[in-house]
């Protein structure tokens, strides 16, 4: 008798749900020690609906096929000297920011989903988290490979992993993911699986990938397409987890709401880097940050929250603040990097006259009034041969770790200062949500590794800025400072035959 071929349904069952087993002689609670401390109540894991409908076997087949196509294009890009076809060498600085700031986040997500893929009690959820974990590992690898070709021709890429653990601004994404990974499995799933990968994902990936498309960067665009079907799966997992938790027990609602309030804000603050990338770093602009926020958050997430209302979920209170900040965020962020670019692994520059006109048009209520004068001052100083690099080290927000540069929306020229005193020590915050995140769990955030304080404690090479630069592996005069006069700029002129 020939062996019977399994039908699809049976095969799926055997290769997913059937991988689980009953605990007959071990205590189930000891097998899943993280499942209860967050206060989440699960009454029946069987109610979990598998978001991916994939077996591991078919997953490997799909992914292998995508890899083959992706790497064929990488090869063609390299052989055709694709780096010479980007709109301008300034564009490549967006990629440096991506590789140092975003790609290590993929790796952190890989580790985080591996953790939840082990610790959630339901087999369906575990299989899905494990697949996402492998996806995230694939993403950091394919991103490194997409950008390794640029690394041969531009400065600032080669030490991305070393820098991620050390550089002041990279502590923003690093601490974001570490905050999520040191939470319990369900908070991680709401933090990264839902808030980041579902609600905010389009504000991270679409800007970078469309930015690549608009600026002639075939390698990164192709990576984007290759990741797209993975991201679609991640979104379905994110949505399933929130619905599942809310349907399991009514006591889960306030916990989930608190996590949403926290993580949408944490994610939004992280997207500050994307805002400035869109408005200031792309030579060929896609859309403004404000337009992206309106399209992908106010419209899309607005509809999503309407849908979640039936569970009792509310849009976080601070979304009105974000609505106002959208006209300020990118300008305030680029100003930070412009004046601290001597300690950054990418170049910055004063926007050109045409770019400033574009910004005036996109931000009619704020750019000319608050931000154009900053660039005029910068240009004035530059013309005198005193390009503005600021002195001293910035005060950082204890929660998001971004310099205290954000302003009150009631008075955009006034820095927004918030503070809390915990155990007789003073802590400073850029905003009400960053303060309330700290106030909810001070024992977590007192432990923050704030780069500026670490430098001042002598833990970053000791001594002066030169020692810090060594500690960062940041080549002074090469990967940092203004784009004008950089080795990147000189090489670009050489290729293009410009004197």
């Amino acid at each position: 008798m020939s062996p019977k071929k399994l039908n699809l349904k049976d095969k799926y069952k055997l290769l997913t749900r059937d991988l689980d087993w009953e605990f007959s002689y071990e205590d189930r609670k000891e097998a899943f020690p993280y499942e209860e401390f967050e206060g989440i109540k699960i009454t029946d894991w069987d109610k979990w609906e598998d978001p991916f409908r994939l077996t591991m076997e078919s997953y490997w087949k799909y992914q292998a096929e995508k890899e083959k196509k992706l790497y064929a294009i990488y090869d063609a890009f390299a052989q055709n000297n694709g780096q010479t076809n980007v709109t301008d060498a300034r564009y490549v600085n967006a990629l440096k920011l991506f590789l140092t700031g975003v790609s290590p986040g993929e790796h952190a997500a890989h580790l985080g989903f591996a953790f939840t893929g082990r610790q959630m009690g339901g087999i369906g959820a575990r299989v899905a988290a494990q697949m996402q974990s492998i996806d995230e590992l694939r993403h950091i690898q394919t991103q490194i490979h997409a950008m390794s070709h640029y690394n041969k021709f531009f400065d600032g890429f080669d030490e991305f992993n070393h820098m991620h653990d050390r550089l002041w601004y990279l502590s923003v994404p690093k601490s974001f993911f570490e905050d999520a990974r040191t939470a319990g499995p369900f908070e991680f799933m709401i933090a990264i699986g839902f808030s980041f990968e579902y609600v905010l994902t389009n504000l991270l990936f679409v800007p970078f990938m469309s930015g690549a498309a608009y600026n002639g960067d075939m390698a990164t665009v192709t990576f984007g397409f290759s990741a797209q079907s993975d991201e679609a799966r991640h979104m379905t997992l994110g949505l399933e987890i929130i619905k599942f938790l809310l349907e399991q027990h009514e006591d889960n609602l306030p916990i989930v709401q608190k996590w949403l309030d926290k993580w949408l804000w944490r994610g939004y603050r992280l997207l500050t880097l994307v805002a400035m990338m869109m408005d200031y770093m792309l030579p060929q602009k896609v859309m403004s940050w404000q337009e992206a926020w309106e399209l992908y958050f106010e419209d899309a997430a607005g509809a999503l929250f309407k849908d979640l209302e039936r569970y009792g979920i509310k849009m976080p209170d601070y979304t009105d603040t974000i609505k106002q900040e959208k006209e300020h965020l990118s300008h305030q962020a680029w100003w930070i990097f412009y004046q601290y670019t001597h300690a950054a692994a990418f170049h910055t520059w004063t926007p050109s006259a045409e770019e400033m006109d574009w910004l005036s048009e996109k931000y009619p209520d704020t750019f000319d009034k608050y931000y154009r004068p900053r660039w005029e001052l910068a240009a004035e100083m530059e013309a005198k041969g005193e390009r503005f690099y600021t002195t001293g080290l910035p005060q950082l927000c204890q929660t998001c770790q971004i310099p205290m540069a954000f302003t009150e929306m009631s008075d955009p020229t006034q820095v927004s200062y918030r503070e809390s005193i915990y155990n007789d020590e003073r802590f400073h915050f850029c905003s009400d949500p960053c303060k309330s995140i700290f106030d909810n769990e001070p024992e977590k955030y007192v432990n923050a590794w704030l780069p500026v304080h670490q430098i001042l404690q002598g833990n970053c090479g000791g001594g002066g800025l030169d020692k810090v630069m060594e500690y960062y592996h940041l080549d002074d005069g090469v990967a940092n400072l203004d784009f004008e006069g950089s080795p990147d700029a000189e090489r670009w002129k050489d290729w293009k035959g410009v004197a």
């Binding site: 910035p394 503070e419 024992e443």
Partner: protein, 120 residues
């Protein structure tokens, strides 16, 4: 609850407590409505530093790049210490005046409106 952790007795390490700074304390300095400086700055200073020394030695490093810096009338300058109005005595030390570790001291100069009067 101060943290949701696996163990109820978990405590975070205070990464920036006073003793970590080798005898110095942190002071954050900001200059209101002068956004040329993207943010306030952090300085490790001896607690026994007198206010006059702060004005003479630290303020120029913090804000000396600003075109209005030389126009500051230090006798008329207003101060906000940790969100409250503050009247410094130039001969007293930081400690004597209650400027503690991680205090935020803001300089306010209403007559100086920043570059192009735009708060920059």
């Amino acid at each position: 609850m101060t943290i949701r952790a696996l163990r109820d007795d978990y405590h975070g390490e205070f990464k920036d407590s006073l003793e970590k700074f080798g005898g110095l304390q942190l002071l954050y300095l900001g200059w209101d409505k002068h956004q040329m400086f993207c943010s306030s700055r952090a300085f490790p200073l001896p607690p026994e530093m007198r206010f006059q020394e702060l004005l003479d030695n630290v303020m120029p490093e913090a804000f000396g790049q600003h075109p209005e810096f030389t126009q500051i009338n230090w006798n008329k300058a207003q101060w906000i210490l940790d969100n409250s109005a503050f009247q410094p005595d130039h001969s007293k030390t930081l400690t004597e005046m209650g400027i503690g570790h991680k205090s935020l001291l803001r300089l306010v100069t209403p007559e100086l409106t920043g570059y192009k009067g735009a708060g920059i």
